[in-house]
Symmetry: D3
Subunit: 319 residues, 6 copies
């Protein structure tokens, strides 16, 4: 299978790719002509595609995300590669494909990510905190096996949410050694829970977020997680006003740091500062890595990266 990143102008392509977006349009011709504006993706990147011969039946057939088999031609349009689809059909079970081969994923297996997260929870040296964290993990079910961490800002790939958690846990362990005054139990619990309600905030399939859910728009992942902690505490007969539960909720509520970024309170304990900073560092470095990592070899500047002050990124020459 030819990786999208290596497509070259004039090349004829036959193969399986992920259909990441499919919008049915019509031209301004008279009578207007129907076609599909599509994005195909694989593990190496994505490419804008046009399926000019789309029929009304096709309109009921192709919805993103879905694995498809295509035949077509790589063209250049405004100095950017574009794929002209001549034939397209949904992949079927008989095609014997492995979905993971076609979607951009965390570089670690989901099962290993989840194992690491659960080991971290086990290491929390406080029964009540551990119980609360486990309540939330169970509530989420297997969504931690595949949810991305965001629609496009950072870790927007299969199992990106768990991968983000694991990287943050690694950083936290390192920093707890640098600064032993930090309460490790609280910080570990906070890292696991800080974004866990994103699994209810967004609708996602195959690592691709389609939109925000009703709960996401009305309450948001920050307040949802706070409510879940209350729920866990009430169901287990804990004192919701105990210092440790209040501090855990404080970590969740304050982890976006500022009101205009969605946090109703600001960090007022060192662990809340640490959680916010570790989160920011991992999310932004990942966004930078993604920006330069998904550029074609021929390019020097990435598109603008929204979470990094909307700046384009430069790929330095290898030395």
């Amino acid at each position: 299978m030819t990786l999208i990143q290596s497509f070259t102008e004039g090349q004829e392509i036959v193969g399986f790719y992920m259909l990441k977006s499919a919008i049915f349009k019509q031209t301004n011709a008279t009578p207007p002509k129907q076609y599909f504006d599509m994005i195909l993706s694989d593990t190496s990147g994505e490419i804008t595609s046009k399926f000019w011969e789309a029929t009304t039946a096709d309109k009921e057939t192709f919805f993103a995300p879905m694995l498809v088999k295509v035949r077509g031609l790589v063209q250049m349009y405004r100095d950017k590669p574009q794929f002209k689809i001549n034939q397209i059909r949904p992949a079927t079970d008989e095609d014997g494909y492995n979905i993971a081969d076609f979607v951009r994923s965390a570089p670690v297996q989901p099962v290993d990510l989840l194992y690491t997260i659960k080991q971290a929870v086990v290491s929390i040296d406080d029964d009540e905190l551990q119980l609360i964290v486990n309540h939330c993990i169970e509530k989420v079910g297997d969504k931690l096996m595949h949810y991305p961490a965001a629609k496009s800002m950072h870790h927007a790939f299969y199992a990106g949410l768990s991968y983000h958690m694991v990287r943050m846990l690694e950083l936290a362990e390192f920093i707890c050694v640098q600064r032993p005054f930090l309460n490790r139990n609280l910080l570990i619990a906070g890292i696991v829970l800080h974004d866990i309600a994103k699994t209810e905030e967004m609708n996602a399939e195959l690592g691709i977020v389609s939109d925000y859910s009703f709960l996401g728009k009305m309450i948001g992942h920050i307040s949802l997680a706070s409510n879940w902690i209350t729920e866990a505490a009430v169901l287990n007969g804990m004192d919701v006003n105990s210092e440790k539960i209040v501090l855990l909720q404080h970590l969740i509520l304050s982890h976006h740091n500022l009101g205009e970024w969605g946090s109703p309170v600001q960090p007022q304990i060192p662990e809340a500062v640490a959680l916010h900073l570790i989160d920011t560092l991992d999310a932004k470095l990942q966004a930078a890595e993604d920006a330069v990592g998904t550029m074609l070899a021929s390019e020097q500047w990435s598109p603008p990266v929204r979470s990094l002050e909307n700046k384009a990124f430069y790929k330095a020459s290898k030395e």
Copy 2:
């Protein structure tokens, strides 16, 4: 008893007043001399006071808020009246005073405010919403009988919180007639709950807030109320993800309108817009009424009012 608002320069005063603030200081003299910087208040206003003859024993005696009997002299200092205390003692039960005669209070009796609020709750035509609201009212206990709505921004007086609720309920009834498409049940429930957790957010006695509580700083009244709704729902076996409970939490979470004002989500249903606007209108008009209502007769401009763009207010001549 002479009302503070009518104190005149050179007047000798004997009477009972509320001690609203008491800070023990020392002069720069050698040796430094101890004295008390105090604020006395009654229903008509307040006055800066100095007790120059304070002893170390006095330091252990006088704490705000407390009712005291004083004897002293009204002086002018930088064009403002100041009270020089010659004698001071705590009031005792034998003095037979009624506390309500000495603190600035809502113009309606607390018992009547609470009655009005409870009638509004009874009128909510939805059993689950009513149950949730009652859970929160019971949780708060008799604090609704005396809590102010804020430290200084607005309704900063005895039973100010309930008074604010009642005025908002009146406005809501009027607006629900103007605009029948609004969901009255949701709006009434939202008004009663929107600031109810201020009773846990701040420490207050006799209508005077001393400071923010641990819960107030770590979680804040907005997220506290959201947690209480979750608690009520879990304890009563309701579905926390049902539309009406989610919308009620949305009203509470969004009622400050913007992230930088403390709301983690912004209003996305008309009732949330209505709650925010009714809250703002009542709070700001009260702040304006207080600003001109507590000025001395001789003044034309109030001090700057923080919640009203920090502007001074003008008292127009009566026509």
Copy 3:
């Protein structure tokens, strides 16, 4: 006549509709083909429309706003209904239509709105203020019978400006009862004049604003109204520096509350605070009501509403 709100895919339509917008375009075909991008509207809503067979003669015939008779087909385009016009002609007097049946209008008759406004003016218990207000009303002529209050932000419909005034007058009467310390004369005068110069600021026909006028861009409705008050006072030999005239100008100048919203001074009397808050409450609640009121039955979320923090609105299920 079929209401636009009830158009369904595949339906053939013949009827009269308001032509709200008409832009002559050409396709990228070779040679480029001319067509009309139109918006048709009625009292229930509006629909994007295409007239592919437009001729150069048509270009000189169709200008918005204008009532037209059309024949055509309802199609779906990107999941939204679109109307394909096969035939179109301007309505003529012989068609015997009533314009009010085709434009979105205030739910109260303009003549009744104007009557209510004039009653309010009569009730102003101050001859000079009454004279000034009447000068401005006469200056405006019959524009109060049909002007909208804005291009799109709120009350953007036939007689929306008067309707906004009347709703504000109702709220003001209620609040003057809640808070008798307010100067009712000043507040009523301020409400009638606060937006009255919008009739000179914008060009509008049939409740639809086409653009801002020369006076609107150079001076704006706030300063125009201030100038009109000066004009009225000078022509009637009043003292332009008298307290009441200055306070009336202050109400007009400050009613947008902040400099960045167009007010050169900020509210410094309670009536100015009240005017600003009543204006905001009515405008924003109307925007929210419009957002959910003009959605198709099949939709749950409105488009983003600019005046409400650019948020989409949710239409709750009826209970």
Copy 4:
């Protein structure tokens, strides 16, 4: 007479100085002792002064601004010179002083400034504009002979307002030569009127602003000037909607450039841009010149200058 700028530590001083500020205070001693916190000034600068022996009678005698004769001693306090007053009395007519010798003034005689301004008005080649400008100049009376342009931001000295106008007129003439497309009549009229209503916005004596007036707070100098133009036009039977009158009002209304700086509309003709920029350039350069010009010879850094991003200014060594 010894100039304040040349006072040195330990020096005994006798002479006449302007009393620029006088606040009656009392110490924390028991019993508290009364004294005067004063600022003395002359043409070279100002000095903080203390009059420890103040009596109650003195309190009724000394009000700023007033010329006084003092005897006292220059001391150092926190590394800054301070003047200890031993004797003080108001200057009397018998003292035969010339007030202009004691107040900081524009470097050009007021009569010459006014002459220059009137010449500029005469040169306006448009009778109506000239009439309007003259109406406003006459309205202001002789305040142009002595008013400062601001309380402290810039040109805060005797006749500072006229001096600011004249400097701006000079710059305008130069720029109209550089860029002949500008409408000189409009620009000259705009410069003369842009700040003219500051004479009603602020209360000032001897070039020293004491506070903002009722008109200043309620309407502000920008809208006042707009109203005056309307008044002049109405009284002289001109068309208030004629292009030139509207553009003149536009220049006045927009000269602060942004809403948050007090302008209800933004510049939309080149002359309005020019007026704003010439105003800014002259005001800010004057603030910079004042900052370094009033420093003591021994200092290298000025106090922070509020209108220049609150930065301290550096006095470079002479080369």
Copy 5:
């Protein structure tokens, strides 16, 4: 040759014009058709143009900026003139054209601008400052003969950078006479150097900026000029910490006034304030002059001008 500003609908045109922009596109037709979206310009303005018959060979032939000979037809599209190109070829040496006849240029000859700049440098009465300035001028080479001052904000034309310098030098001479306390040497040096590194920050040909350079994005013209001053000082054995060199760097670093506008430090000497204000005044007045100067005779309002608060400009009637 017909000037673009005087093109009228239906006119047939043959002549030489500057190709300012050329984007190769394809229509949505099936199969998609290739065409060129072009902008042609001359000294009087520019016009959107379409070349529908573009071939793949053309794609390799036409790159902006380039002088071309065209034949075509003026059409109207959405009420704006558009040029339909029937034939197009690059101009050749044999055509015997003078490039300056086709590009919008400063109204003064580049050679005269450079002469004026060099005279100003010669007049700097300080050998070290003069040496530094000359080092930078030599570094830049002949780019001062043709570089614009910006991509589109202001002085975006041939030799616009030098023209901007010269106008600023004129203003500086005038202001140094008004305010003799200013250090003229420093100010002249600062004006010449403040934007000189724009020649490295942007890539430009024939007065048209195509994009920002690698150095421009990574360092920017402000820090580049600071580095060049260091380079000049080090190479000439000067003390980089001497007051005058530090102050010169301060002028360059602070000339955008605020951090959010790109200046790492804010003005703290009067000459830095002057440089910033003169720069702003010249740039903004030029933007206003360009806005009204390039409008067609039939128009009253310009497009929004980004550097002038994004406002449209009004062209007043000639009187």
Copy 6:
């Protein structure tokens, strides 16, 4: 020696302490009495102190920072401990003290910090980058042995600058392992140079910053470091426009991330993002650690921390 953190009310103290601040004042008494407002500090914290018996000779004797021997009494003032100095003299060489015993210092020996930094420089696998970094380190001399990283924001203690560098180097090594695509040479060089010019930006002794220097105010540490890199490159005959030198300057210039925080350009390579984030994380966590680490045992809330959204910090109970 009694540590300041363990001072208790009423305790008599004799010992050596650091005089961190000394302001000579006078009381309002008549005649005014001179005294010293001082701050004494040691490794455990600091205490406000008063020396009431100060003489004019003392004024010439005591300047911060200086080691002094004091005798006095611990008192309480407004619920905070204050030290009343009865006797004070400068420490002398005969006292045989070790300065490091009295100043708050990095928890690692300066010599070890410098060793670690130099090892990191040696590990830079690029001769030119190494040469540049070494040029800057040599320029700074032994200031890296004692300079703090800031006046009060973070690492405001003896050798705080080097300590901050070392902690950042540790984090960078960890992150380069997590994300091997980062250019380690560039990142290490950037960390060592990012704040190195703070040694010229601020004046400091014994780890205490007294004020900003002339160079600091005029150029700032960010542009100073950029200039030093240019200087190093020019002196060593390197190409200042080579990619690696430009990128190194980019790292320095962009490390405050935003223009309003002092960076003239924003990060546009991943290493610049990493440098900014590592810097922020280390600085803010240190500020949080300092806030809770220097609180008295009896307190639960720290004073507001300016660099952490001005929030007070809570010291959780040990579990």
